[in-house]
Amino acid sequence: MLYLADTWLGDHILSIVIFLPIIAAAMLFSRTAWQPESIRRFALGISLLTLLFAVLALLIYVSDRPGIAPAEWRLVERSDWLVGEDDQVPLRIQYYVGVDGIGLPLLLLTALLTPLAIWGSFSGIQDRHREYYALMLLLHGAMLGVFCARDLLLFYVFFEFTLIPLYFLIGIWGGSQRQKAADMFFIYTLSGSMLTFAGVLFLGWKASLLPIGPDGLRVFTFELDRLYQLAADGHLSLNTQWWLFIAFFAGFAIKVPLFPLHTWLPLAHTEAPTAGSVILAAVLLKLGTYGFLRLSLPMLPEASIALAPIIGVLAVAGIIYGALAAWVQRDIKKLVAYSSVSHLGFCLLGMFSLHLAGLTGSVLYMVNHGLSTGALFLVVGMIYERYHTREMDHLGGLARQMPIMAFFLILFALSSIGLPGLNGFVSEFLVLLGTFNSEKFVLPGFKGPLGIAFAVPAASGILLGAIYMLYMVGRVLFGPVKEPGHGFDSSTGLTRDLTPREIGVLTPLAIGCILLGVYPKPAIEIMEPALDRAVLARMVPQESASLARYDLSDKHKQAVELDGAYPVDSHADASNLDAISQSDRQHRMPVHLQPEIRNPSTTRREVLR
C-alpha cells in the first residue's frame, strides 16, 4: 500500500473523498433527463466510490510511514484559499485538510453510512429523485469535510454547510409537520453556531496579534495548530477562555443535543425521511461532540476543566431525562430519538472525564451510536414503509411475519443498550470507567473533573436504557399479531419480510456492531495516540506533565509484589506494562523527551509542543 501513498492519488486522497460527492451532486442537479432508476444507481455508485477512497485513505494512514509520530496528522493537504498581502499582518486562510486518530474513525463511519442510507431509501422516496439524491451527496461531502478540516474557518464552513441539504431533506420529503421541524432544526442550530462563529473570529484575531508559531511571524490565520499554540503558550487568560468556551458551547451543545437544548431532535427525527434521520442521528450529532473534542478541549484547557463538572451534570441529566422521556413515547422514531439524547449524554460525559479510557470510550461511542442508532432508524423506516405508521399502539407481534426484521431489530436494540459482545457495551463501559476513575488519573498534580458522583447516576442509564428499549421491542415484536387498520401495504413492491436489498443494507451494520464489540483493539489503537497527544497532552498543566506520568507503572508493580508469596500473575494486565516491547515503550516516551526542534521563546507550556 506504500507505493500508493506517494502517488498523486495518495497525496490528494482526502480532497477526493470530500469533493467527489459534491461534484457528483452538482452533476446530478444538471442531469434532468435521467430516469429515477439511473439516478439511484448513480448516487449509490458515487457514495460507494467515496467509501472505497475512504478505505484507501485508512490503508495509507495505517501503513506506518517512518518519521511520523502515531498521533500526528496524516494525509495532509495544504493550499491557500483566501490569501491577502498586508504590510504587517498577511491574511492566510488555507484549505488545510488532514486526518488523525480522532477524525479517521468518524470519517469512515460517514463513508460507510451514507451509501447504506442511500441504498435504504430506494423504496422510501417516490418523488423528486434527482433533488433528493443530489442533496444527499451534498450532505455527504460536507460531513466528510468537517472531519478532515484542519483550518478552523474551513471547519466552520463545512459545519454550517451540512445544515442546508438537511433542511431541504426534512422540509420536502418529511412527515406531516415537516415544515415546522425543518425550520426549528435550521434556526436552532444556526443561532447556536452564530455564537461559535463569533468565537472563531475572536480566536483568529487574537492569534494574529501574537508572533506564535515556528516562523515567528504575525499572520491572520485560522490554522488549528497555531490556535492550539495560542492556549499552549498561555496567551488566553481564564476569563477569555470562559467566554470562548461558552461561545463554542452554544454552537456544539445544540448540535449534540445536550440536555436543555435538545427539543429540536425528536421533532427533526420524526419528521425526517428515513435516510435523513439515519444521517442526522449517525453523523450530524457527532459534529457537536467532535467539535467539543477538537476545539473546546485542546484550545481552552483551563476553561474546559473548570466547566467540566457543569457539563457533566447536564450530560447525566440528559442520560436519565432522555431515557425516561423515551419510555413514555408512543412513536417509535421519537423513542429512538430520545435514546440518542441519552446516548450522547454518555458520550459527552466520557469526553469531559478527561481520563484516557473516558475519551477513547466517547470517541468509540460516537462510532457505535452511529452504527446502532443508524441501523435502528433504518429498521423503523422499513416498518414505516410497510405499515405507514410508527405508532406502537397500532403495531404488535411483528416477529411472526417478519422474523428477519425481528432478528435485526433485536440485535440493534441490544447493541444500543450495551449488551456485552456488541459494540455498545465496549464504549459504555469505557465511558463509565473513565468517569469513575476521572479524578484518579495517573498524574498527581492533575485531577480529572468528574468522579464517582457522576458515574453512579450515569450507570443507571444502563438500566433505564434496557427498560425503554425492551418496552419498544416487546410492544412491536412480541405479543399477539396486531396490524394497523389498512394492513400490510404491498404497493411499494416490498415483500412482507425484508427484501434482499434491505438485508444488504443492514448486514454491514450488524457485522460492524459485532466486530467492534468483540475485537475493538484496532480501532482503539488508532484513536488512543491521537487522543493522548491532541487532547490530553494539551489539557495537562505543565508542572504535572513531567515524568510522573510514567511513575505509576513502577509503583503499580511494586504495590502488587508486596509479599513474595504470590508470584505476579504474568499474564494478568497489571503486569502487561513490562509486556510491551521495548520499541513500543520508546514510542510511548514522555512527550518532551522526544527529539524535536523547539521554539526558542519557550514559555510555561513548553513541554507540550
Binding site: 427539543t263 425528536p266 431525562y321 425516561l324 422521556a325 423515551a326 419510555w327 413514555v328 413515547q329 484516557l356 479510557a357 477513547t360 407481534g397 416477529a399 441490544l414 449488551l419 456485552p420 459482545g421 457495551f425 465496549v426 463501559f429 469505557l430 463509565l432 469513575f436 476513575n437 495517573v442 458515574a455 450507570a459 443507571s460 444502563i462 438500566l463 427498560i467 416487546g474 415484536l477 412480541f478 405479543g479 399477539p480 399479531v481 475485537y519 475493538p520 483493539k521 488512543e528 506520568r549 505509576l552 507503572s553 503499580h556 504495590a559 502488587v560 508486596l562 504470590y566 500473575d569 504474568s570 499474564h571 494478568a572 494486565d573 497489571a574 502487561n576 506494562l577 510491551i580 510511548r588
Partner: protein
C-alpha cells in the same frame, strides 16, 4: 484447550442460525448436541488435567492457577489493557461439569419435548436449539472467566439467553412480559454488579482475579494506601447485589416464578440448575472479598436464610407444578447463600452440584407430565398418574426424595452439611431457620407428588389417556435420577463410626475444591452425626405429614385454608410482592417519564417560543410603517437625502 469449551456451542448456535432455515429444521438439534457433547468431553479432560496438577503441588496451599490472556480487549489507561482472559481451577471444573452435564441431558430431553403430539417439530424448533447453544456458550464463558470483565460479559449474555428462551412462545403476551421482566430485574442486579466492578478497578487498578485477590489479602490498594474495610464491604455488597439479581434472592426474586412461562427444558436448565447458580458461583469465586468483610457475610447469610423460608412458605400454597418447583429452587438457592454466608463455600458448591441434578430431574419430570397432559400443569386438574406414567413417576419420586433431604440421597448430604456449618458458625438462629425450611421443603415436595401421582386417576378434559413420554425424554430422566442418588456420595468419605456406621461429611468433592477455598479444620466429633440423624428424621416427618394430609385426610388442607384465610391468601398471592413493586417503582418512574416529556414539550419549547417572540414583535412594529404608498417612500428618501446633505455641509 479451555477456549474451545465455550466456542463449540457458539459455533453450533451460529450454524443452526444460518442453515436452520433450509429444510433441515427437524434434524437441526444434532448441530447443537454434538458441540455440547464435545465440550463435555473437553471439560472432563480439563477435570483430569486439573486433578493431576493438584496432586502435584503441596496439599492444602491455596494455589492460584494461572489465568491466560486470549486477547487485549479494551484500553483502560495509558498503557493498561483490559484483557479477555480465561482461568481454569477446581471451582471452574466443577461448575463446567455441572453445567455441561445438565445442558447435555436437557438438550436431549428437549428434542423429544419440543415436538407436538404427533411427533412433528414445533414452529421455531431450530430457534430454540440455537438459543440453548447460546446459553451454554455464555454460561461457560461466565464460569471460565479470568477477570471480572469477562465475568460481567458472561453475566449479561446469560441474562440475554434467558430473555430469549423465556420469551420463546412470544405470541403469548404473558411469556413476552415474563421475558422482559426477567431481563430487567437481572439488569437491576447487573447495575449493582457493574458498579462493583468499576469500584474494584477504581480501588485496585486491575480487574484480574489474581491481582485483586492478592491486593485484598495484602490489604492495600493500587496506590499502596491501606484498604479500609468499608471499601471492601461496599464492593462485596455491590457484587452480592448482582448475585441477588441473577440468583433471584429476596428483593429481586420476582422474575423467577414468572420465568416458568418459558418451555420446561428451559426452566429445568436455566432456572433450576445453571443460570440461577451463577450468583452462587460468583460469590464463591470472590470468597476472598466476602471473607474480608464480616458484615457482608452476615448480610449474605441472612438474605439466604430469609429467601429460603420465604420461598418455602409460598410453595405451600401453589398449585402450578412448575411454580412450586420454582419456589423450591428459590429456597434451595437460599440454602446455598446461607452456606456461603457462614463461609462454608465448598458445601455451598456441593449443594449446588447435587441440587442441579435433582432439581433438573424434577423439572423434566414435570415437563413430561405437562407433555402428557397436553400442556396442563395445574396439579388440581389431574392425579393418579402413577400407573400410567411409571418411569416419570419413579424418577420424579427419586428427585422428590433427594429434594426433601431423604437420607442416603444427594439432597440429604449437601443440605445437612449446610445446616451443620450454619450451627457451627456464629449465627445459630439461621440454622434453625434452615431446619424449619427443610421440613417445609419435604412437606410441599410430597404434597405435590401425592396430588399429582397418587389417588384416583383423573385427567383434564380433552386428554384420553396419559401416555408415558418417548425415549428422548425418558433417558435423561433416568440418568438424572442416577445422578440424584449418586452425586451425594462424592462429598462423603467412607469412614467407620460415621453416620449410619460408615459415612463422614467432607468427601472427595471437598478435597478437590480445597485447592480453591483452603482446608477448613475438619471436625469429627459426634455433633455432625447427631445432626444427620435429626435432619433425616425431619425429612421423614415432613413426608409423613404430607402423606397424612393428602392421602389419608384430603379434607384437612381445605379446612386449614379456610381457617387461616388471610394468611393463606397472603401466601397464595406471593406476599403481593409484584403488586408492591409495580406501585412503588414502575408506576412512579413512568409518571416521572411523562413529566419529563411534558417538561420537554411545554417548558423548553415555551422558552423557545418566548425567544422567538422578540423578532416577531419587531417585525410587527415595522409593518405599521410600510403603508405601501409611493409618496411615503419618496418622502423617506428625500428626508434621508436632506439629512445627509445637512450633515455633510455642517461637518465640512
Amino acid at each position: 484447550m479451555a477456549i474451545l469449551i465455550p466456542l463449540l456451542p457458539l459455533a453450533g448456535a451460529a450454524l443452526v442460525g444460518l442453515i436452520g432455515l433450509r429444510g433441515l429444521r427437524a434434524r437441526s438439534h444434532w448441530l447443537v448436541i454434538l458441540p455440547v457433547a464435545a465440550s463435555l468431553y473437553l471439560a472432563v479432560q480439563l477435570y483430569f488435567q486439573v486433578q493431576a496438577s493438584t496432586q502435584a503441588c503441596a496439599h492444602g496451599v491455596r494455589q492460584m492457577f494461572e489465568s491466560f490472556t486470549i486477547y487485549q480487549w479494551m484500553l483502560a489507561g495509558p498503557d493498561s489493557w483490559l484483557n479477555v482472559s480465561f482461568r481454569v481451577d477446581p471451582l471452574t471444573c466443577v461448575m463446567l461439569l455441572t453445567v455441561l452435564i445438565v445442558s447435555f441431558l436437557v438438550i436431549i430431553y428437549s428434542v423429544g419435548y419440543m415436538r407436538d403430539h404427533h411427533g412433528h417439530a414445533e414452529r421455531g424448533y431450530e430457534r430454540f436449539f440455537a438459543f440453548l447453544a447460546i446459553f451454554v456458550f455464555s454460561m461457560c464463558t461466565l464460569v471460565l472467566a479470568g477477570n471480572f470483565l469477562v465475568l460481567y460479559v458472561g453475566w449479561e449474555l446469560v441474562g440475554l439467553s434467558s430473555y430469549l428462551l423465556i420469551g420463546f412462545y412470544y405470541q403469548r403476551p404473558a411469556a413476552a412480559a415474563a421475558a422482559k421482566k426477567a431481563f430487567l430485574v437481572n439488569r437491576i442486579g447487573d447495575f449493582g454488579f457493574g458498579l462493583g466492578i468499576l469500584l474494584i478497578y477504581y480501588t485496585f487498578g486491575t480487574l484480574e482475579y489474581a491481582n485483586v485477590f492478592r491486593m485484598i489479602q495484602a490489604g492495600v490498594t493500587v496506590e499502596g494506601v491501606p484498604l479500609e474495610s468499608a471499601r471492601v464491604t461496599t464492593i462485596a455488597l455491590l457484587l452480592f447485589c448482582g448475585a441477588m439479581g441473577k440468583s433471584a434472592q429476596l428483593p429481586l426474586h420476582v422474575w423467577l416464578p414468572d420465568a416458568m412461562e418459558g418451555p420446561t427444558p428451559v426452566s429445568a436448565l436455566i432456572h433450576a440448575a445453571t443460570m440461577v447458580t451463577a450468583g452462587v458461583y460468583m460469590v464463591a469465586r470472590c470468597h476472598i472479598i466476602f471473607a474480608a468483610s464480616p458484615y457482608a457475610m452476615w448480610i449474605v447469610a441472612t438474605i439466604g436464610a430469609a429467601t429460603a423460608l420465604f420461598a418455602a412458605t409460598i410453595a405451600l400454597t401453589q398449585f402450578d407444578m412448575k411454580r412450586i418447583l420454582a419456589y423450591s429452587t428459590l429456597s434451595q438457592l437460599g440454602y446455598m447463600f446461607l452456606a456461603l454466608g457462614v463461609s462454608a463455600f465448598d458445601s455451598a458448591i456441593f449443594h449446588l452440584f447435587t441440587h442441579a441434578f435433582f432439581k433438573a430431574l424434577l423439572f423434566l419430570g414435570a415437563g413430561s407430565v405437562m407433555h402428557a397432559m397436553a400442556g396442563e400443569i395445574d396439579v388440581r386438574r389431574f392425579g393418579g398418574l402413577r400407573k400410567s406414567m411409571p418411569i416419570t413417576h419413579a424418577t420424579f419420586l427419586i428427585g422428590g426424595l433427594a429434594l426433601a433431604g431423604f437420607p442416603f440421597l444427594a439432597g440429604f448430604w449437601s443440605k445437612d452439611e449446610i445446616i451443620h456449618a450454619a450451627f457451627e458458625s456464629d449465627m445459630p438462629w439461621l440454622a434453625w431457620v434452615a431446619v424449619v425450611t427443610a421440613w417445609l421443603t419435604a412437606f410441599y415436595t410430597f404434597r405435590m407428588i401425592y396430588m399429582a401421582f397418587y389417588g384416583r386417576e383423573r385427567l383434564p378434559e380433552g386428554v384420553e389417556h396419559a401416555h408415558e413420554s418417548g425415549a428422548w425424554m425418558s433417558l435423561p430422566l433416568v440418568i438424572l435420577s442416577i445422578g440424584a442418588i449418586g452425586a451425594g456420595y462424592l462429598g462423603v468419605t467412607i469412614h467407620r463410626g460415621g453416620f449410619a456406621g460408615i459415612f463422614e461429611p467432607h468427601g472427595a468433592f471437598h478435597d478437590f475444591l480445597s485447592r480453591n477455598f483452603g482446608r477448613p479444620e475438619v471436625s469429627h466429633e459426634g455433633g455432625g452425626h447427631l445432626l444427620m440423624y435429626v435432619s433425616s428424621l425431619i425429612a421423614l416427618w415432613g413426608i409423613a405429614t404430607a402423606w397424612y394430609f393428602y392421602r389419608r385426610r384430603p379434607t384437612i388442607p381445605m379446612a386449614i385454608a379456610l381457617v387461616a384465610g388471610p394468611v393463606y391468601r397472603l401466601l397464595y398471592h406471593k406476599y403481593y410482592v409484584d403488586e408492591v413493586y409495580d406501585r412503588v417503582f414502575v408506576r412512579p418512574l413512568r409518571k416521572v417519564g411523562e413529566i419529563c416529556y411534558d417538561l420537554d414539550r411545554y417548558l423548553i419549547n415555551g422558552v423557545l417560543w418566548l425567544i422567538t417572540l422578540v423578532p416577531r414583535g419587531i417585525g410587527f412594529g415595522l409593518r405599521r410603517w410600510q403603508q405601501g404608498a409611493m409618496q411615503g417612500y419618496a418622502l423617506g428618501m428625500v428626508v434621508g437625502l436632506v439629512v445627509v446633505l445637512w450633515w455633510m455641509l455642517m461637518t465640512t
